[in-house]
């Protein structure tokens, strides 16, 4: 389907109020896969599928009615103007013939000049400030809209039409009004010719010989001279239809050739038909085509259209979890005793998940004495750990690797140890060799937090 102003208004409103989710829009596009490469058709179909969501009557219908009403009024006005101008120009009093130069100017010169202006305006229609567009009578139609009730004005103002599109709207409307005016002229000519006996003649103050005038007329009649030669005035007719105002009465020569003078109407009718109607109609078709193209181009610059098309045309990629992650349980802050200095003597020293040589180094670098030392965790079996627990007594110094977070495996061991011993357990989180066995603050805090949750008064930590 073709997108016109009405469809654009609907799209504008739908995007604003019922854009839908990305998922919905992609699902819609996948239902119409064949249209994925033709975005305008896809948008058209999307509009149709959502149209029922808009409140009745649709703003677009109301606005189109208003615009059509105003356009019809202007069309009738220009038609009447053309009709009455034609009747006026062809008015024959019987005293002197109708000077066909006036009529020719109206049906050939005026259309040609205005069409040249229109073409120039069309060449610049893609510029936002097109002077020629702004002087068009159709442009002033907007002023008529100002006479409408306020709520209608607001509805029209709501529509933010791309200025380039607006230029083409004015240009197309101008051609339509000119066409209506010319139709009035043409009907006036036919009406007057049918209803009255008119003597056409030509008269000019300029020094133009009948031969020169014949040449000009032949040029004008060139488009139809081949297939309608009787609508091309002959030199004889031109010579016989020249008249001069001097005397104020009809020339006797003219009177004697009255029947011949009537033949001019065929030429005038063809000139009106060709220059004022056919050429204008051609220009109207071109303006309509250009407007459609301008709509197609401007539609992508409309707010939200580009995003909507992305949603429809691009595959919907999701990488995230569908369900919400449960919020973290933050346990109440508990504290644990921390010490800066180790005691000088421990009954037992245990290294958790460290090797023997490291435990020896650790004991050697502290001014402490220990009765027993054991290795727990790591490659030990749970049974071996249990044996250690069974053996321990008194105060215990327990080395742990601060960079490894406390697992429940360790917590189980610590709790069992605490139950078994009557003494204190000093937990000593150590750092890596690179850190000279000093624990980093961040790592220590992790241990401190976890161990404090045990709320065990026997346990303290060496900072």
């Amino acid at each position: 389907m073709n997108l016109g102003i009405k469809e654009i208004i609907d799209l504008y409103e739908l995007i604003d109020t019922h854009r839908g989710t990305r998922e919905e829009n992609r699902a819609f596009a996948l239902k119409h896969k064949e249209l994925l490469s033709t975005p305008l058709k896809l948008l058209g179909l999307w509009r149709e599928s959502k149209l029922h969501l808009l409140p009745h009557p649709h703003s677009s219908t109301t606005m189109m009615k208003l615009i059509s009403g105003v356009t019809l009024f202007l069309l009738l006005l220009s038609f009447a103007l053309g009709l009455f101008s034609g009747i006026g120009l062809l008015h024959y009093s019987g005293d002197e013939p109708v000077n066909l130069i006036y009529f020719l100017a109206m049906v050939c010169l005026l259309p040609l000049v205005t069409m040249i202006l229109s073409i120039m305006a069309m060449l610049r229609a893609n510029q936002s400030h097109s002077m020629l567009v702004h002087i068009s009578p159709a442009y002033w139609m907007e002023q008529i809209i100002l006479l409408l009730p306020r709520h209608h004005q607001e509805q029209i103002n709501m529509l933010k039409i791309n200025p380039l599109l607006a230029n083409w709207i004015v240009l197309k409307r101008s051609q339509l009004l000119a066409l209506s005016f010319s139709l009035g002229l043409f009907l006036a000519l036919i009406g007057v010719v049918v209803s009255r006996d008119i003597a056409f003649a030509w008269s000019t103050t300029l020094d133009i010989s009948p031969e020169s005038f014949h040449y000009i007329i032949s040029l004008l009649a060139l488009p139809w001279s081949e297939f309608l030669p009787q609508a091309v005035p002959s030199l004889e007719l031109i010579e016989k239809s020249q008249y001069f105002r001097l005397g104020g009465k009809l020339d006797s020569n003219l009177v004697s050739n009255a029947a011949l003078l009537g033949l001019w109407w065929k030429f005038l009718a063809m000139a009106t038909l060709f220059y004022a109607l056919i050429l204008r109609f051609g220009l109207y078709l071109f303006a309509s085509f250009s407007l459609r193209r301008a709509i197609e181009r401007s539609i992508f610059s409309m707010d939200g259209i580009r995003e909507l098309l992305h949603q429809m045309q691009e595959p919907l990629v999701t990488t995230q979890a569908q369900e919400q992650e449960p919020s973290m349980q933050i346990s109440k802050e508990k504290s644990i005793e921390t010490i800066k200095q180790l005691d000088s003597n421990y009954t037992t020293v245990i290294g958790w998940a460290i090797d023997e040589s490291m435990l020896e180094i650790l004991i050697a670098q502290e001014p402490i004495t220990a009765n027993n030392s054991y290795l727990a965790g790591g490659l030990n079996s749970l049974k071996e750990d249990q044996n250690i627990i069974d053996k321990v007594k008194g105060n215990i110094l327990l080395y742990v690797k601060s960079w490894e977070p406390p697992t429940m495996d360790f917590i189980d061991f610590l709790e069992d140890l605490s139950q078994r011993t009557r003494g204190e357990i000093t937990l000593y989180p150590i750092g890596t060799v690179d850190d000279e066995y000093r624990s980093r603050e961040k790592k220590f805090t992790i241990w401190e937090k976890k161990i404090s949750e045990l709320n065990d008064e026997k346990i303290r930590m060496k900072r």
Binding site: H310, P315, A321, P405, D434
Partner: protein
């Protein structure tokens, strides 16, 4: 519509607590909502992160809790003699029998996806020494009999990768280095390619995923380029106005309107940045940062101008080139009969606009209006440097956002030395961009073709910076 469980590969990211499993999942799934914490045990349940394209799942990642009682689990598994081909059944039996035992909640959660057919991605911290306590975990995973890969994550600056590699090679088919805090798109794709090799049946699905990710990446760059172009057009053509009833407009009125104008431009920039963050799935970052990126450096500050803008000399050259490019349209139209006068005049006009507009922000005009009122209007922006300041700020922001792994939760710092090295728009691009800037300064409408040209230039710059 989802593929059946049997047809798409799944990968369980497992390991010791606090070794960056969730960070890896967050980066691979482009999901900033994954809880990442230094507190062990933050992840208590397995959570699936499927890659779906139009509802079709290509693969799924599972974030899992860390091992807590691996030795106890291994002890249970090995308390009876089990031949190799029955080991998986033994692990299944463990899960079945201990499903309701809270002691083994974490192990059950991490083993379940593996027993359901997921490949194993075992994560360790290569910046800390290898520890023997890991062996129980690795043995349990070995018993599961699934394709497996170890990822060495370098959390800190120390390096124990070699000793880790020596140990991990005994248990895993593949060992790779992957830092979720620094991984870029290329590294992500390289990791997926490794995952594709784990099992032959998974290869086509993962290869398809790689293609989809590449398309998705390009799509994000294109969408960002369009957004940046829209921002440039909206900001550079923006006009603010205020009704006034008197003939004389006071300086304070003018100042107020200028403030309003600048404020609106700041809002336009901010909204665009939020949209860019959304394209790259970084909405939370933008919401949660106390001082979001670039807020520290005001759009109209001298600092912004000197850092992101062009020098007067550069602007002159760009202005002339842009003007000449616009004028060349006339020469082409006249088939060269204008003797390149169009280009010459364009160049002069371009240079003049730089000379006259360099120190001003925007024109302020008092316009006559109907019904006895007047309107004080400011804009569009006349300063020839402003488009570059705005553009380079946004390009910088986009680059930071687009290259930031989703696991990285730190505040974005503006390191000006790095920043300077990242800002670069070549002369040819500047010339083409300037043509559009000049059009906007004249309050003209940008044609669809010019919009597309601008987008293509931005897209190219982003591609170079982001990929």
């Amino acid at each position: 519509m989802q593929r059946s469980n049997q047809t798409y590969p799944r990968f369980a990211v497992v390991g010791h607590p606090n070794k960056g499993k969730s960070s890896i999942v967050s980066t691979l799934a482009y999901d900033e909502s994954v809880h990442i914490s230094t507190v062990p045990g933050t992840t208590t349940q397995q959570r699936s992160y499927p890659l779906t394209i139009d509802g079709v799942t290509l693969y799924a990642l599972f974030d899992t809790p860390g091992f807590q009682r691996s030795r106890a689990v291994l002890a249970w598994l090995t308390e009876v003699e089990v031949p190799a081909h029955k080991r998986v059944d033994r692990v299944k039996k463990f899960v079945y029998e201990h499903r309701d035992n809270p002691r083994y909640n974490d192990e059950i959660e991490l083993l379940e996806p593996i027993l359901a057919g997921a490949g194993i991605i075992y994560v360790v911290d290569g910046s800390k020494p290898y520890g023997v306590e890991y062996e129980a975990e690795m043995q349990i995973l070995e018993w599961c009999g699934q394709p497996s890969m170890a990822l060495i994550n370098l959390i800190d600056d120390t390096n124990y990768v070699d000793e880790w590699k020596s140990a991990l090679r005994h248990y895993f088919q593949m060992v790779r280095l992957f830092n979720p805090m620094e991984a870029n798109f290329t590294q992500h794709i390289a990791l997926l390619e490794s995952m594709a090799q784990l099992r032959e049946e998974w290869t086509s699905s993962i290869k398809e995923s790689i293609k989809s990710f590449e398309r998705y990446h390009k799509q994000k760059i294109r969408n960002s380029a369009e957004l940046i172009t829209e921002l440039q057009i909206d900001a550079l053509s923006y006009v603010a106005s205020e009704s006034v009833t008197t003939d004389e407009v006071s300086d304070s009125d003018k100042e107020l309107l200028m403030d309003k104008y600048k404020g609106s431009l700041r809002t336009i920039e901010k909204k665009s940045h939020q949209k860019i963050a959304k394209i790259w799935n970084h909405q939370l970052l933008e919401k949660e940062s106390e001082i979001p990126l670039l807020d520290e450096m005001d759009l109209f500050s001298k600092e912004s101008e000197s850092l992101f803008g062009l020098s007067k000399k550069e602007l002159l050259v760009t202005g002339m080139a842009g003007g000449a490019l616009t004028g060349s349209g006339v020469d082409i139209l006249l088939a060269g009969s204008s003797l390149m006068l169009g280009s010459a005049i364009g160049a002069v006009v371009g240079a003049a606009s730089v000379m006259f507009g360099y120190d001003e922000v925007a024109d302020m005009k008092l316009l006559g209006w109907k019904l006895g009122r007047k309107e004080l209007q400011v804009g569009p922006i006349q300063n020839p440097n402003f488009p570059y300041v705005l553009l380079q700020r946004t390009l910088y922001y986009t680059t930071e956002i687009a290259t930031r792994p989703h696991a990285d939760r730190s505040k974005i710092n503006m390191d000006t030395s790095i920043l300077l090295s990242k800002i670069f728009i070549d002369d040819e691009s500047k010339k083409n961009l300037e043509k559009t800037h000049q059009t906007l300064r004249k309050s003209k409408v940008i044609k669809e073709e010019s919009f597309e040209e601008y987008v293509v230039i931005i897209e190219k710059i982003l591609k170079d910076r982001v990929s």
